[in-house]
């Protein structure tokens, strides 16, 4: 029987992703697959406790 089940190509697997899914490791899956789809409406960053930036020397 085994001779009929012999594969004729090498399966490419994402080992870490599969392992993460098997382990229910949310962190690994979250990082590897979900982020781009779960992102926000617009980019966010905050710098030097400023709400508004108007060029080099004018901050608020």
């Amino acid at each position: 029987m085994s001779k009929f089940l012999k594969g004729n190509y090498t399966v490419t697997e994402n080992g870490s992703e599969r392992q993460a899914l098997q382990d229910n490791n949310f962190t690994k899956v979250f990082e590897s697959k979900a982020l781009e789809k779960l992102g926000g409406s617009i980019a966010f960053v905050v710098k030097k406790d400023q709400f508004v930036w108007e060029g080099e020397d004018n901050v608020q």
């Binding site: 409406s41 617009i42 980019a43 960053v45 709400f51």
Partner: protein, 332 residues
């Protein structure tokens, strides 16, 4: 719960998703640029500072009938609303002073203003599934016609605080209705970095960059704090979560979570107990990220912040979690 590292990655993913499109729209919006949020600040300089009420489009806005409370109790301050709450405000007879818009999505966002080209849009069930404005869940074309008329009628009384990242179709629609446009750039990234998108867009249009908070509701709150300089800022409809008992399939990212956790998509959701409400709400990574950002920003804010959503997970240091009617009475 979610880690700092995950939030960093979420932030990077959002930058990747929105920066290129935002920059493209900033170029296309160049012909429409006239006034900016700094011009607005100058125009308001002679007026005394007033409190602001920021209307976001979370499910509690409808559940708690917040607009009805505002109308019944009265409010002598600025009404600032997120684009997703604009239709609900107008349908309920509340004309906001300002409406914020920032999301660069090329097809969806114009719907909040009434979409003159709705029939030509690609098939999209977003508005039938979303909980931001349940009125748009069915009879989409009829409700769009209604919104077109409402925005045409009341537009001249509203100032739109419009991000250069949005589709130029929105700029044209707002101008056609007679709204006054005040432009801003989203602060996309660290402007001191060599290849900063924020710096690039600022060089392109010389429009001030404002912190977004990752979503339009928080952008509206930032606007109230920084441009209006309101001493008291009330927020309603800022749930950052789903009400107790919400089924996983009714959450915004369900399809994505199902793809990640086919055996149990609820693994991507988190339950958070709100001690003010004595209720447990459900959140997902995106909404939880928004709440954490807000808690970070509230520490920088010059004005007080009252969360009068009466629902959700946005509570913590710097946020006065109160009943809307009580705060409206105390600010009189």
């Amino acid at each position: 719960m979610f880690s700092e590292e995950q939030f960093k990655l979420l932030s990077e993913a959002t930058l990747k998703k929105t920066a290129a499109l935002g920059l493209k729209h900033a170029q296309e919006n160049l012909p429409y640029l006239e006034k900016t949020i700094k011009d607005l600040q100058r125009e308001l300089q002679s007026e005394s500072k007033k409190p602001a009420l920021v209307v976001s489009a979370g499910p509690s806005l409808h559940k708690r009938k917040s607009i009805e409370t505002i109308k019944n109790r009265g409010f002598e301050g600025y009404i600032v609303c997120a684009d997703g709450a604009f239709g609900h405000c107008l349908r309920s007879g509340l004309i906001p002073d300002f409406v914020l818009t920032v999301d660069p999505d090329p097809h969806r966002i114009i719907r909040w203003f009434g979409d003159p080209r709705l029939a030509e849009r690609p098939e999209d069930d977003y508005f039938r599934r979303q909980d931001l404005d349940p009125a748009l869940n069915k009879d989409e074309f009829d409700r769009n016609e209604e919104l077109l008329k409402l925005v045409n009628r009341f537009g001249p009384q509203v100032k739109v605080i419009i991000s250069t990242s949005v589709s130029p179709e929105i700029a044209r629609r707002c101008r056609e209705t007679g709204m006054q446009l005040y432009w801003w750039n989203p602060l996309y990234d660290d402007y001191e970095k060599q290849d900063s998108v924020s710096r690039e867009v600022f060089k392109l249009n010389n429009v001030p960059c404002m912190v977004t908070g990752g979503n339009v509701g928080t952008s509206a709150w930032v606007f109230a704090q920084s441009i209006l300089q309101s001493p008291d800022v009330i927020v309603v409809g800022m749930d950052c979560s789903y009400p107790p008992g919400t089924k996983a399939e009714n959450t915004q990212y369900y399809e994505h979570l199902k793809a990640i956790f086919p055996d149990d998509p609820t693994k991507g959701l988190v339950k958070i107990y709100n001690p003010h409400l004595e209720e447990t709400w459900i959140t997902d990574p995106g909404y939880y990220w928004y709440a954490q950002i807000f808690l970070q920003l509230v520490k920088m804010a010059p004005g007080r912040t009252y969360n009068c959503t009466e629902g959700g997970i946005l509570f913590g240091e710097g946020i006065d979690f109160r009943k809307l009617s009580d705060v409206l009475a105390s600010l009189r």
